[in-house]
Symmetry: C2
Subunit: 109 residues, 2 copies
DNA sequence: TTGACATGCAAGTAAATGATTGCATATAAT
DNA sequence: ATTATATGCAATCATTTACTTGCATGTCAA
């Protein structure tokens, strides 16, 4: 999975809002989502395509309607690859910073 | 905290790499970081500024040297605001999708 | 089968972004 | 003091990005 694509997809407020909309109600059609967005349908389509490419949403066609579903898996990946990794060292980093600021050595206190 | 700023900061691979560098070794100077980056010092500076504005790194001046430290707190925020939120519904969403795909009602099986 | 509805495709535009170059400033070393 | 080092500031440029507009296609309903 391309984690950068996921971050890029999440970087735009409109796309974040689309995810929020889908979180509130799963399986919404394109036009349903458009009603909450202050832009043209095509703009929304393009945002949704990016979200889809980042694997953040899944699309199901039902006749002429396009239903959108949230996929929480990539966010789980972010947690695994970034947040967990950095948080594990959280206290260490902060202590390290504190010591440096105080001009001390790392003395594990 | 502006969560969009954090995502935007994380969206660029160069900035992600800078965070990785700081994760490996905390407190590196600007020029130390530059040595690993295939771009001018000024470009790196600008990336670091964005990371700083997103509160993902903290900067400490030591004489003429600028030391950079990782701040894991915003990533923690992401976890709290996004990942936890979506993951909580993970199984529900997937079941919902599965049922829709099979043309069933939600029957809680 | 005709009209309305749901969506796609593609070209064009304005603004944001990543990166560069050139010059300025402050700290350290000799 | 003078020189080298570490960094900042600002203008510029190319690319990407978010959006728009216009037209095309496919599906449902009367």
């Amino acid at each position: 999975m391309d984690i950068d694509k996921v971050f890029k997809a999440l970087a735009d407020p409109s796309r974040g809002y689309l995810l929020d909309l889908l979180h509130r109600e799963s399986g919404q059609t394109l036009t349903a989502l458009c009603m909450h967005m202050d832009m043209t349908r095509q703009a929304v389509t393009q945002h949704l395509q990016q979200l889809e490419e980042a694997n953040l949403i899944a699309v199901v066609w039902q006749g002429r309607e396009k239903l959108h579903y949230l996929n929480p898996v990539p966010l789980h990946e972010i947690h695994a690859r970034w947040i967990g990794k950095f948080e594990r060292d959280r206290l260490d980093v902060l202590r390290n910073l504190k010591n440096k600021l105080e001009g001390k050595d790392d003395d594990k206190t």
